[in-house]
Amino acid sequence: MILYEIHIKDEKDIVSARQRAREAAKNMNFSITDQTRIVTAVSELSRNIYVYASTGRVVIEEISSGTKHGLMITFEDQGPGIPDIDKAMEEGYSTGKGMGLGLPGSKRLVDDFVITSQPNNGTKIIIKKWL
């Protein structure tokens, strides 16, 4: 069930995405630590859209699988894409280099992390966090 959809075109939209993610996570009764993880991941990945693709969208959905409940968040853009995903998922890109992609870090914050991307064809990242 789709809870929120946020279009990213301005820096303040990153803030909106965070706030919506916070609301969703809180309403689903995630622990405060998990809420923080989710909101931080949303902040990182939305910022990537803003920085690398200028526009894109973030969709926050409630999902279930059997008795599990959780949140699924999709980050999509039509930007330049990531040429070498394996490299981008390596450690060196996120820590200390500042405006790195933050991908490996974000991956650690969530339970599922799927990324598809092609040069000039945009990027799509789907993350899931279960209660």
């Binding site: 405060i32 923080t36 931080t40 902040s43 200390g96």
Partner: protein
């Protein structure tokens, strides 16, 4: 223009980071702190982040940069008020906040800074003691 609240007490600058901090604000608060240190000769900066619910890689980088800049001016920066769930998330994200000294609470932070201020100041002795 939104400026970060700062108080100067006994050569220690108390700064509270709060609310949403975007690019412009980050650079301008960085500059405000540095200017204040330069103008007043402040020797210590207590960066209070107890109002921050999340710290993403962008903000983390700004904080760590600011601490390094403060050091360059010959002053000392101490971070205080880090929430436990923020600490966990930062660690998972892979941000190590290098170069920033972190104090468990404001009292300890202030004590650390007072010691530093004292060391950089002149001891006073009376002429009689010299004899």
């Amino acid at each position: 223009m939104n400026s970060v609240p700062m108080f100067l007490i006994n050569k220690i600058l108390l700064v509270s980071l709060q609310g949403e901090i975007n690019d412009n604000m980050a650079l301008s608060f960085q500059k405000s702190i540095l200017d204040k240190i330069y103008e007043t000769g402040a020797k210590g900066v207590l960066l209070n982040i107890s109002q921050l619910d999340i710290i993403d890689s962008y903000l983390g980088r700004i904080i760590s940069e600011t601490a390094r800049m403060i050091q360059l001016l010959g002053a000392k920066a101490v971070l205080t008020g880090m929430k436990p769930y923020v600490a966990v998330t930062l660690e998972e994200l892979g941000l190590n906040m290098q170069g920033v000294e972190i104090a468990m609470n404001a009292d300890i932070g202030v004590k650390i800074l007072e010691d530093y201020v004292k060391a950089s100041d002149f001891e006073e002795i009376s002429a009689e003691d010299l004899e």
